[in-house]
């Protein structure tokens, strides 16, 4: 691979404290290096912004859920096709793009790493088949543990060390990256058509509470020293007044903080950040949640920004999806997964005129603007729940420009406009902060040392946007910012140019990250005995056929950790 010199760009590298300095970036063998030889190819980035490649921490792009949604919504695809080119395969888009289109559309925005945040362990082989097919971006997936029978039984018996050994075995078996919890205990209650609303409700037939499940898994996350925090979607999704459950859930992780690293990441907080007692009375819980995040160091969040467009709700939270289906009355899909988790999909449309939708839109932006430290909040739309990931540039324009926000605030539901705090907030993100919440902070949160920055030895994943930070005022020219972030001037993946002027010019294969915690043999032996004795009772597949071999991942990248158990 030829050496490359990116000359004279304005570099934004928050991890290394570089804010818009004019400098060169040298690339050799896919890595950032000190300098390159004279015959290195030169890429002139003068007058342009140079950032690390985007890192998306939470986007439903692959797996059985995403594919059922694709299969169920041909009307969503036929409006947004991608014609094949010399370099790019054909596909379809809008809310749930096909795999090739997903990779190309992320690369066009300068994104080079994306994580699928919810995969049922039993069907993770399917998730990896799709991740293998997604071009260009590096990727990984979070297996679901919050309603797993083995987990709940270990929590009930208080056998935390065996639980840690089980989670370690599962991460290696499924080639997963981090612990994901969705509506802990609630999806098990959905087996009988019910749900759990609060942290201290009891899971039927298992006699444990969501609080106990969350605490145990936070402790396991610390014991296994996993790179990422516990990624959680609390109980009571979309219920009025659920902001309190979110705060209580955050409290569970208080004493599992690790030096310099949070214990918990609460995702798409907009869906669980509501005050009020009824649908007509939804209020913003953003101030309370932002205050908690600002005053504690063991938790990070992402807003799950909502866009006023047609979307596809998709989550493992089966009961919540059925509740929303009864309101939306559109198409509903549900798929419970034996002894592990569930899935729910509903097609929907967000309207400015709708009171609750307008409040959701406002709550998400309030969260992003009220959380002071950009290292604690990450840009997501919980694709495709809040909106398609292709709308990130529009969200960026709302964050950098109060004027852009106010224009839309004037068009939303009047009652919502009155009850939101958003109109009174005039904070505007700088490009430096945007670089933090879209790449530096997310890479750090995921524990990916070679991602999200341009320091020596980092992967040469680089995005170059046609914005001159010395001349452009993002607050006023937010349209230019939006267009620049939508069509990167250049995107480089491990040193190779894959996108030029917003078009894919080369397709490369990305790697799949997964974690391999090392657990002491004797604990593992006792756990394996439990597993072997109950596996055939709990599952309809044989234990020997459950694990996924490493060769199954076309480009595997394991991260080993030394467990304290």
């Amino acid at each position: 691979m030829p050496e490359l010199l990116i000359r004279n760009g304005y570099v934004f590298d928050p991890l290394n404290g570089i804010e818009g300095e004019g400098m060169d970036v040298a690339v050799k063998d896919g890595k950032i290096v000190e300098r390159v030889g004279r015959k290195a190819r030169v890429l002139d980035a003068s007058g342009m912004t140079v950032m690390p490649g985007g890192v998306d921490i939470h986007s439903h792009i692959a797996g059985s859920k995403a594919n059922c949604a694709r299969m169920m919504r041909p009307e969503d695809h036929s409006r947004d096709p991608e014609v094949k080119t010399k370099y790019a395969r054909s596909g379809v888009g809008h809310t749930i793009p096909s795999v090739f289109t997903t990779g190309y559309r992320y690369a066009r925005m300068g994104y080079t790493t994306v994580f699928e945040p919810a995969t049922p362990p039993l069907t993770t082989r399917h998730t990896h088949e799709e991740l293998n097919d997604i071009p260009i971006i590096d990727k990984g997936c979070f297996p679901l543990f919050g309603n797993n029978w083995f987990v709940m039984e270990y929590v009930k018996q208080g056998r935390i060390e065996e639980l840690a050994a089980y989670v370690a075995w599962m991460l290696e078996a499924t080639k997963g990256y981090a612990i994901k919890i969705v509506n802990p205990g609630g999806i098990e209650a959905w087996r009988w058509g019910r749900n759990l609303r609060h942290l201290d409700d009891t899971v039927p037939n298992f006699d444990v509470t969501p609080r106990e499940i969350v605490k145990a898994l936070c402790q396991v996350n610390k014991l296994l020293d996993l790179p990422h925090a516990v990624h959680i979607h609390p109980n009571g999704l979309s219920e009025p007044g659920n902001y309190q459950t979110t705060l209580d859930t955050m409290e569970c992780a208080r004493d599992f903080r690790r030096e310099g690293r949070p214990a918990m990441h609460v995702t798409h907080v907009q869906f669980t950040g509501r005050k009020g007692w009824s649908w007509a009375d939804v209020r913003s819980g953003a101030p309370e949640i932002a205050d908690y995040v600002n005053t504690h160091d063991h938790v990070t969040i992402d807003p799950g920004q909502l866009i006023f467009t047609n979307v596809t709700w998709m989550t493992a939270d089966g009961p919540a999806m059925f509740a929303l289906f009864k309101l939306a009355k559109t198409k509903w899909f549900n798929a419970d997964v034996e002894s592990e988790t569930g899935a729910g999909i509903v097609s929907a449309t967000y309207k400015k005129s709708n009171y609750v939708n307008a409040m959701q839109w406002g709550i998400a932006l309030e969260l992003a603007l009220l959380v002071k430290d950009p290292w604690k909040i990450y840009l997501t739309t919980d694709h495709p729940n809040g909106g398609p990931f292709t709308s990130y540039p529009r969200v960026i324009s709302w964050l950098v420009s109060n004027h852009a926000r106010q224009k839309l605030i004037d068009k939303i539901n009047k009652t919502a406009k009155r009850r939101l705090n958003l109109p009174g907030i005039d904070r505007e993100y700088s490009l430096y902060e945007i670089a933090t919440i879209t790449r530096a902070a997310t890479a750090k949160s995921l524990g990916l040392e070679c991602k999200g920055h341009l320091g020596l030895g980092a992967d040469a994943d680089i995005a170059i946007y046609d914005i001159d930070p010395t001349k452009l005022d993002p607050a006023r020219e937010y349209r230019i910012v939006r267009r620049a972030f939508a069509h990167a001037a250049y995107t480089l993946k491990e040193g190779r140019i894959v996108v030029k002027k917003g078009e894919v010019v080369r397709s490369v294969r990305g790697r799949t990250f997964w974690t391999k915690p090392k657990v002491s043999e004797d604990i593992k032996k006792t756990m394996m005995a439990d597993l072997q004795s109950k596996f055939d009772d709990y599952y309809t597949v044989r234990m020997a056929n459950y694990p996924i071999e490493e060769r199954y991942l076309t480009a595997s990248q394991a991260i080993t950790t030394n467990a304290g158990v």
Binding site: M72, P74, S90, P97, R125, H126, A335, R542, A544
Partner: protein
Amino acid sequence: MPKATLQDVLCTFCASGCDNLEITYDGRIIDSARNGCAISVSRFTTSDKSRLLKPLVRKAGKLRPTTFARAVDRAARILNNAKYPLLYGWSQTSCEAISKGIELTELVGGLIDNTTTSCHGPTILGVQDAGEATSTLGEIRHSADLVIYWGCNPVHSHPRHTNRFTVFSKGRFRKTRKDRKLIVVDVRQTDTAKLADRFIQVQPNGDYELLTALRTAINGEQIEQETIAGVPVETVEEIADMMMECEFGALFFGLGLTMTAGKHRNTEAALALVKDLNFVTKFVIVPMRGWFNVAGANEVSTWQTGYPYAVDLSQGYPRFNPGDTSAIDAITRGEVDAALVVASDPVSHFPREAVKHLLKIPIIVLEPKRTPTSEAAEVVIPSAILGVEAAGTIYRIDGVALEAKKVIDPPIGVRPDVETLDTIIRRVKKLGARR
């Protein structure tokens, strides 16, 4: 080579995905296949005389042995010159091969369809209108206290279904047969119906009316007719009550709904019935998919093109509209001018009028054994049998991905489909795809 045994092998017959077979083999000969149903044994006998061992190309009207390279070249030229080629089959080959098939279809600008189009295609069309409330098969084993088989006969089609997943299985909350009630709805008293607590005989082509009546009863509305599709209205009310009073119901349906008049609207009515039931209790619905990787064909096609089957890539992007872009329709209208058939036998199974047109165009066949389709082909390339002589990913009825294992080596010179297709793709690229 001493006799060897392989444990936990996946069966390659139906989509139940039994993965606890024990195969003993000696070199290239399989001795026995235990733990599966009676049919699984036949899937592991590979040495019968109808096995294709050499590539064949038609010269002067007769199929003559040829080299792999020459057969691939001929196949590549046929597909590359065609204006509207059909690539059909896919349900008995691996997901990796299907992925190559889609790449080849996009390259030559053709139509890719799988056997879903004459099996559970209407089920997917129903889901596209009504959504679906389903679960993996283990949930049903653990929790279902009411099981309904509608228009399907698992005792013959999915022999171990009842004792691995439903009434005879041992679940966490349902231990024995008496913890479950079984209803069978069919046009005749099948051997499955003989196991049922209640057997409902419905008139042929009357399923839609009966499903609609059940929905009406569940929605608490008055049914004004005395009998619906030959079933007395009192029985309809009774069955509706049974469905509403169970704790966890599971409705399995088969080709009795998808192949009779109404097709995708029959399945839509069944999906809507189960959706309505979720307002009063917990209910799931699962189609009885046929071939062991027909679900995989839908999954791969969906994640790569956005559509589960009948995908037209002739204009450089995916289009989907069964009735227009589905295999049997396109062939019958004489639109297709070349065909690649992988692991399927349309000359036997397609309606006569469609076969008449199919026999007029050059056919390329990738198949382990001789079939009427391979007999009528221009080019025949033998394939290694997935799950016996080649490994690959497959998808079970409920979308759980499993891995078919390679037990023995294929006959010399016989390759897995994924390799053959990859070679054809490279050859077409060398020929210079025009578009």
